[in-house]
């Protein structure tokens, strides 16, 4: 298997609630143009393209073909990837497979969402349908006044059970969720590509109303319009084309029980179990030659639609022991200048163009490794190894990418 590196990243100039000034292909093309600008490559340098966004959200079933010319994709191998919340990272993994396999040398991965043009809650319903309807109809009216009632308010409600379980097992207090939320929002204030960019205090978070206990409005992610593009290349082409690189040294993905939102009806009864996170990260660490992630990983970008999740994932991905993440938060270890900077970008929690959300995790790691961060959230210490994570599907699918400043040596 060949070594593969990210040699450039392109973002739309902003991630915001509504990009009314452009249509979908125009918006995505801004990120494609930025990737070309940042790498000084041209469409002729690209061998193949992968393209990803959420199923259903904009109601466009073949957006990649609608946007083919805007993507500079004509006459090239071109495929769409859709795996739910993980789509962004699955799209990057697909580009990685294209190159690692030896079939292509330089591949562009394009990810985006324009949530303002669709109906994301109907989109989410479409993901858990039709199984959820069986559950939700127990005394509840799915599309009437109590819509998604069993979930207590869309995905926030479903995540509330997970937050309850996390708090119970970890010994963390609800205040730790407030504190993580304030930290990430304040990080986002430094990131020009973040959506909610306001320095935020714990008191600000605690002033927001509850959605589903223990989750408040201030614990939930926004819906954003925006796109992210990464260009990956083989080791040989990195030497020819790139002035900087972050190596994709390990990839992993795994699914667990497909039962509705992962903890209803199936064998899993703990919504915070998230065994696929352990499976996917173990695979990615092994590929990357990482033996003890808690010592060898220098930064983490966790997929966190909800503020408790960054803490939960740090534990599930072996970056600390169970029950330790909130103590690291208290000790300042998760700050940008801490021991394990976590979501220096502000996370999904601050910016959620959902098809791009699981891509923005590895692109943030790549830019941190290359020291090409724009804005004020460059991690001061040298980043040798970084881990990025995506979470989605029907709550049970996890992707992990380990990036490094040097390529893998000697592994199969």
């Amino acid at each position: 298997m060949r070594n593969v590196g990210i040699i450039g990243v392109g973002y739309t100039p902003v991630f915001v609630s509504k990009r009314k000034d452009v249509n979908i292909p125009e918006m995505i093309s801004e990120a494609v143009d930025a990737a070309f600008r940042n790498t000084k490559l041209t469409p002729d340098d690209i061998d193949a393209i992968t393209f990803g966004n959420m199923q259903t959200f904009e109601g466009v079933n073949m957006p990649h073909l609608w946007a083919a010319d805007h993507m500079r994709a004509l006459d090239k191998p071109y495929m769409r990837i859709a795996t739910g919340g993980t789509t962004g990272m699955s799209t990057l993994h697909s580009a990685y497979y294209h190159v690692a396999s030896g079939l292509h040398d330089v591949v562009m991965a394009i990810t985006w969402e324009k949530q303002s043009e669709g109906d994301s809650q109907v989109g989410l319903s479409g993901i858990v349908m039709p199984e959820a309807m069986v559950m939700v109809q127990h005394g509840m009216d799915l599309f009437g006044g109590k819509g998604m009632g069993a979930m207590g308010g869309g995905s926030t409600g479903a995540a509330a059970y997970q937050a309850m379980s996390y708090l119970h097992h970890s010994g963390a207090d609800p205040e730790h969720i407030d504190k993580m939320a304030a930290l990430e929002r304040s990080n986002a204030a430094l990131n020009p590509y973040a959506h909610l960019r306001k320095k935020t205090t714990v008191a600000d978070i605690q002033a927001t109303p509850f959605v589903s206990w223990p989750l408040r409005f201030g614990h939930t992610c926004p819906t954003s319009d925006g796109a992210t593009v990464a260009i990956v290349a083989s080791e040989e082409m990195v030497e020819k084309l790139a002035d900087s690189v972050a190596w994709i040294n390990g990839v992993g993905c795994a699914t667990s029980d497909p039962a509705t939102v992962n903890f209803i009806e199936g064998q899993i009864t703990d919504p915070a179990e998230q065994e696929p996170a352990r499976m996917a990260s173990s695979k990615a660490y092994a590929m990357a030659g990482i033996k003890d992630p808690s010592k060898e990983i220098d930064m983490a970008e966790m997929y966190n639609g909800f503020a408790h999740q960054s803490l939960m994932w740090l534990e599930k991905l072996g970056l600390c022991k169970e029950g330790e993440a909130h103590k690291m938060l208290d000790a300042g270890a998760l700050n940008i200048d801490g021991e394990l900077p976590t979501n220096a970008s502000g996370g999904v929690f601050s910016t959620n163009a959902i098809g791009a959300s699981a891509m923005n995790r590895p692109t943030e790691c790549a830019l941190q490794i290359m020291r090409k961060i724009e804005g004020g959230h460059q991690i001061p210490k040298k980043i040798k190894n970084a881990v990025s994570h995506g979470w989605g599907g029907m709550f049970q699918y996890v992707t992990v990418t380990v990036l490094g400043d040097e390529p893998r040596h000697g592994q199969g």
Binding site: M133, F210, I264, E265
Partner: protein, 154 residues
């Protein structure tokens, strides 16, 4: 944004209104017929003895077909819960008139969880481990809604 810019911003409104008709499948069909007799039916895995409610065909862990039907409940234990402060009405979040409890209930004899509304207990009093029992509609009408909600047992 200037008035001139405002004029060039147009939206193509596409009011698609689809209705899908999903078959619930053989397993949930039989489950609904059980509810019509005020019985909650699950299936047991021959591999790891999991009892899954509502029933489904395969045990993903054992790759076995589950075909032994067992009656579970009607009592069970609250394993997890949330207190919903909002309703979601066709994508629009609305503040609920009153906060309400939605719990994940482990029915006696089952290994899986069933989400359901719990009535008859205040949100400040609900707790994990609380015993509850299923309340059926009367008369039943052979529908999922026959299992109306749960309330404290005993």
């Amino acid at each position: 944004m200037s008035a001139q810019q405002e004029r060039i911003v147009a939206t193509a409104v596409v009011p698609l209104d689809f209705t899908y008709n999903y078959r619930v499948g053989q397993y949930v069909e039989r489950y609904i017929k059980g509810l019509g007799q005020k019985k909650i039916m699950g299936v047991k895995c021959p591999g790891d003895a999991s009892v899954i409610v509502p029933p489904r065909k395969y045990c993903g862990r054992c790759n076995e077909i589950m075909n032994e039907w067992v009656e579970v409940g009607p009592e069970g234990t609250i394993e997890n819960f949330t207190i919903a402060h909002v309703n979601l009405n066709k994508g629009v979040v609305e503040k609920a008139d009153t906060e309400y409890i939605v719990a994940l209930v482990k029915l006696d004899g089952a290994t899986s969880l069933l989400p359901a509304k719990v009535l008859g207990v205040s949100p400040v009093d609900v707790e994990v481990g609380m015993r509850v029992k299923a309340v059926f509609k009367d008369p039943v009408e052979d529908s999922l809604e026959d299992l109306s909600h749960f309330e404290p047992a005993g």
